[in-house]
Symmetry: C2
Subunit: 476 residues, 2 copies
């Protein structure tokens, strides 16, 4: 961690630069990717800098039907690509074979023109599919709000892929990497991960890409759903997960909704929810050998065991992708896990973890490497618990059962700072030692009962000078 | 506004220093203060720097009964002075004659010792009253959380006032000013205001002091109340208003609750709610001439007209005091009024104004003097509207009826940036001109009907490098 010292009025300030993130880009070129996908990332001209990928195209070329599911922002100002993708999923009843994404312009608050442009992107991409029929393409955009897309450049970029001579679609590492690059805005590295999992003795693959560094505090749900009740909501986060497993559309949506709540909806960079947040998953069944002409799709009703395995794999993979966003949080120098347990319900634990994770005072203290548990408590107590019924008073936190512990990530001894409402005589040297690490965990135990199923985790970063610099300058 | 330029990585950053706040301290020594109060601010030794006032004592010496009312933090971790003051108000049924306040230590999360200490402060102060009886003293503390008070120093400080030789209690300007100084923590100037008002042809006075610069986003209610439903809550704000009017305890509480909702509960510096937030009002009837032995107290039931006049005066005065806190917000370079109108209810308008006022992205854009209305919209749409009944779906914002306008404070023409969901072709030069002012207003009209009574105002500041510096270093 390099340091830069400068004079500010009469005080000397140490600015910590964000740690190098090069190691996070360490996905190996020999990674295994899911079968049956062709993809590319190209420079279409949405961004000004020549050569920078700003348009990503993903096609499923599987011979089996491809299931699709998505979670979209719950913001009242849903961007045009969100509106269009919701429509596509609904009309196709959970079947879709392609995704088109652009960075550099969010196509949000762009009226009727915006919706027309999003449809035009979808249709042009759809024409690239093997045996194209009615539209089966989902759309995502990220970037500045309130500007219309340079749609002719985008359409021209898409149409280049139709010609043999200019076609860059592929399935090798470079194709995946360039597609991941096309998602990026203020991200400092492309976010691409893959994993292999086994189900009923057979091997499947999933790969995922996402983007996001600021305006990150998603609250996403299936198309048409309303707010989850997580009121301190708030990013542009875009992502997609592609797998060669086969699963029914309805079960794919159930698994994704569960996974997103415990991954992308449990991260915060700045507490601001975007108009464009979207996570899409495609499952194309291409892992099945071609001789197996009747692939049976996993379904939560008919094969609960397989469904649970898939759901768990998807959730863990989604957490990995979500954490990358926090690691790359604008100006972030810390990666902090906030765990809340002993709450009456999972939702209460999740709400409190969210509140701690978005507190400007907690986040500046993390930047200052100060084990300021008073701020953590103030945040914990600042939101009401949920009411079990509209006619009952909500339960209240008993300060005398609350404990707070700092847990280092290196496996050394945890440091309790408050036990059952009584401040510990904290070893400040040890506290500083833990907080100087890039990674650590804050554990808040409310001591109100509630088993392991009510425990919630949130992943957050600190609030730095660099965050102010990025967001005081950048128009998002 | 001085500017300081420094190099940060490869980019050049301009740091704007907070504007000088000397002019805000411009309360004139010949101000008129309410009759019947004796007060002082002294250095008791809670703070390390010698001579800095850290203990304030306020006594009502009126011959009439003194009514008291208060609004306290709704945080689950109420500090010991809050618990004690709630008890005193309850047992005395809204009568109290003294206030004792210390800065430098919040006496929060301090267990039984904390409560004993708060009681000890109250009782020692109570002994200073003319004809002291059962305890009629309210307590407030602000400063670091999790440390116990240096109680023997505080008691010694209070007891100095009992001796004629060391007594500094008075009613002149210096007494008021030193008391206001005793409230200060990271405040850059003491916050003291006074006003004269007329009621039924007679002249009355009120004076008020408050403190707060960070951990400011109060949600306060009368003793024993639960959350207001303002979920983005979150400061230490301490204040007191002293008047020589006579009003019944019950009506004083009603008027204060109304006033606090529209003043102190409508400001945000950093979105963090404190464990200590407290606003106390005393009304001692000392304006009445001594010959008038049966002063009739204003009461909302028996004399609604007088009550309404008093309530309006109190509300406007509370707004003045509340705004001083935002002006002195940690690192603040801007003072921004956020107005939301056209919402279905006042609560919805207040919730949205609060969300905009706490958005890190909006606040960094304000610091960057960037008319980034996309961030304002994203914040506006990120919280659900309230549900009229537990069984009805909440109404939703229609993006096509929403308008956003920047209004300069100098009376020049407002700048609409979004009209009925359609982005305007904004004159960026004019936008920059407005945002370069220290003061301006952001008006969001949801266009969902709702008359003037549903309009809500919030006062907020920007998010600067200086905020990060203050809170990365200071343990509050």
């Amino acid at each position: 961690m390099s340091r830069l010292v400068f004079k500010r009025f009469s005080s000397t300030v140490t600015i910590k630069s964000a740690p190098s993130k090069a190691h996070l880009h360490a996905i190996l070129p020999d990674s295994t990717f899911p079968h049956g996908y062709q993809l590319t990332g190209i420079h279409a001209g949405v961004k000004k800098v020549a050569g920078v990928p700003d348009l990503g195209i993903i096609l499923s070329t599987s011979k089996h039907p491809t299931s699709a599911a998505a979670c979209f922002t719950r913001n009242a100002f849903k961007a045009a690509p969100v509106v269009v993708s919701e429509d596509v999923l609904k009309w196709n009843e959970g079947r879709a074979r392609a995704i088109v994404v652009n960075s550099g312009c969010a196509n949000a608050v762009t009226g009727k023109q915006g919706v027309d442009d999003a449809w035009a992107m979808a249709k042009a991409t759809n024409a690239l599919l093997p045996q194209p029929g009615d539209n089966e393409t989902l759309v995502m955009s990220t970037g500045v709000i309130g500007h219309t897309l340079p749609i002719s450049k985008i359409i021209a970029g898409i149409q280049l892929q139709a010609k043999e001579s200019s076609r860059t679609l592929g399935s090798d590492f470079t194709a995946w990497e360039r597609t991941a690059q096309a998602f990026m805005t203020t991200d400092t590295f492309p976010k691409l991960r893959s994993r292999i999992f086994r189900l009923n003795g057979r091997e499947y693959r999933m790969a995922g890409m996402d983007k996001g560094a600021g305006m990150i505090h998603p609250d996403m749900g299936p198309a048409g759903t309303t707010f989850s009740g997580n009121r301190q909501l708030h990013a542009t986060l875009l992502g997609c997960i592609l797998t060669d497993a086969a699963i029914s559309p309805r079960s794919l949506q159930s698994a994704l909704t569960y996974a997103v709540d415990r991954s992308f909806n449990s991260i915060s960079v700045d507490g601001d929810m975007s108009t464009n947040d979207t996570i899409i998953v495609l499952a194309n069944g291409a892992a099945a050998p071609l001789v197996d002409s009747n692939v049976r799709e996993i379904d939560e009703e008919t094969d609960k065991d397989s469904y649970e395995v898939f759901k768990t794999e998807l959730t863990e993979f989604a957490k990995d992708l979500a954490k990358l966003v926090v690691r790359d949080g604008e100006g972030a120098t810390k990666f902090v896990t906030v765990t809340v347990r002993g709450a009456p319900t999972y939702k209460d634990a999740h709400n409190i973890a969210s509140r701690i994770s978005t507190s400007a005072l907690v986040k500046t203290a993390l930047y200052g490497e100060d084990a300021n548990w008073g701020r953590i408590l103030a945040a914990t107590g600042s939101i009401p618990l949920t009411t079990p019924s509209p006619y009952a008073a909500p339960p209240t936190i008993n300060p005398l059962t609350v404990s707070v512990t700092f847990i280092p990530a290196d496996g050394s001894a945890p440091l309790p700072v408050l036990i059952n409402g009584e401040p510990e005589n904290v070893d400040e040297v040890r506290a500083k030692e833990i907080l100087q690490h890039e990674d650590f965990e804050i554990l808040v135990d409310l001591g109100m009962g509630g088993g392991p199923e009510t425990e919630a985790k949130y992943w957050t970063c600190d609030f730095s000078y660099e965050y102010v610099r990025i967001n005081g300058d950048y128009r998002s």
